[in-house]
């Protein structure tokens, strides 16, 4: 009886130790990727950025129109259940806490990576919700792909696990960086997904004060 118990307990311990080893080994590479992402604010192979023209509910808009302002550019889609509302919510909170003078110097732009479903009207309704003077832009698949490429944003329709469910409810995998474009239209840096309003605010303040210094 006792020896049975002993075998049982040793087997249990062995299994626990084995699973811990397996779990630790598996989580290492993931952690490395995560750490490198969060510590890295400037990407190593820097995308060129640059001007683009896309469509809002009130017509075409170009990035060039916002020269003189600090632009925060985000790629996502309106059916996005979690990632986009988190980032756009944080951007909105940041915006609300700026002074009017600071608000006048920034522009938040939301570009859809799901032009199939995100019409200009839909983008307007969605961006209005965040109440941060946000511009929502859409375009043809080709136009969107070009802008995303310029900024290094990546996206792909998620494969659907259930063939029967293949319908309009697909989700889109996408990178979730907020790109910071300076007053001269130059892509400067990117903020990681889920950057806090405090982090975003600090970066904005930094670039707004840079401008003041260079103007003096």
């Amino acid at each position: 009886m006792n020896s049975k118990k002993f075998i049982f307990i040793s087997a249990l311990i062995l299994i626990v130790v084995l699973s811990i080893i397996v779990i630790v080994n598996e989580s290492k590479p993931l952690d490395n990727i995560r750490n490198s992402l969060y510590t890295q604010s400037v990407i190593s192979e820097k995308p060129s950025g640059g001007n683009f023209t896309l469509t809002a509910a009130d017509g075409k808009h170009s990035l060039n129109e916002y020269q003189g302002k600090l632009v925060l550019l985000y790629f996502g889609y309106t059916y996005c259940p979690d990632i986009c509302p988190t980032d756009l919510g944080n951007l909105s909170m940041t915006y609300h806490n700026l002074s009017q003078a600071e608000k006048d110097q920034i522009q938040i732009i939301f570009v859809t990576v799901d032009p199939e479903r995100d019409t200009a009207a839909r983008m307007l309704e969605y961006t209005n919700y965040f109440d941060a003077n946000m511009v929502g832009l859409t375009g043809s698949k080709k136009e969107i792909a070009q802008v995303a490429k310029q900024y290094g944003a990546v996206y792909a329709k998620a494969e659907q696990h259930n063939q029967a469910k293949q319908n309009a409810n697909y989700s889109v995998d996408h990178s979730a960086f907020t790109y910071l474009i300076d007053q001269q239209g130059q892509l400067q840096t990117q903020l990681a997904h889920a950057s806090s309003p405090k982090q975003i605010s600090q970066l904005i303040q930094m670039y707004l004060s840079k401008k003041q210094i260079s103007n003096q």
Partner: protein, 161 residues
């Protein structure tokens, strides 16, 4: 291969531990800070977040969630794959023995797909959580806006200036 081993060990662990008599799993799980997210207009899905605490000596799996507020309720996770956020349905969330599992933005969450009515801040919604042993727990939670912390943030910023 590693996955196969870990699945195997997990399976063994579960079957071994089931020799022992356990209280029902729902009674060993407490839920803190649950909330569902207000849906922007036209959005077809919302998410529910919470912290699941397991006060038993055994890992507990949350295997299903149900609610009358949405057409479908699914367990989902996000992986950050070199900056690409990938969302996938999963079969269960594991709450470690004497530990907790956090459902939070950007990670594990309970998806409320196609809410019957738009979820608005101030409402309360109910979710029924089901665990591996079939036991269930009802959780009532407030609906909150993504911009809900605005007041607190204002306060902090005033100190800053």
């Amino acid at each position: 291969m590693k996955k196969a081993i870990s699945a195997l060990t997990l399976g063994l662990l579960t079957s071994l531990s089931s020799f022992q008599v356990m209280a029902n799993q729902a009674s060993n799980v407490t839920v803190s800070d649950p909330y569902a997210r207000e849906v922007p207009p036209g959005a077809h899905a919302s998410a529910s977040f919470m912290t699941l605490n397991n006060r038993s000596d055994h890992a507990i799996k949350l295997v299903q969630a149900d609610s009358t507020v949405a057409a479908a309720v699914e367990l989902h996770t996000h992986t950050n794959d070199n900056g690409m956020m990938r969302m996938r349905q999963v079969q269960f969330f594991t709450i470690p023995a004497n530990g907790q599992s956090q459902l939070k933005p950007g990670g594990n969450h309970i998806m409320l797909i196609k809410p019957h009515k738009p979820l608005k801040a101030g409402q309360t919604v109910s979710l029924q959580l089901q665990f591996e042993d079939g036991s269930t727990k009802q959780v009532d939670m407030p609906v909150k806006s993504v911009m809900q912390n605005m007041g607190k943030m204002n306060h902090d910023m005033q100190h800053h200036h």
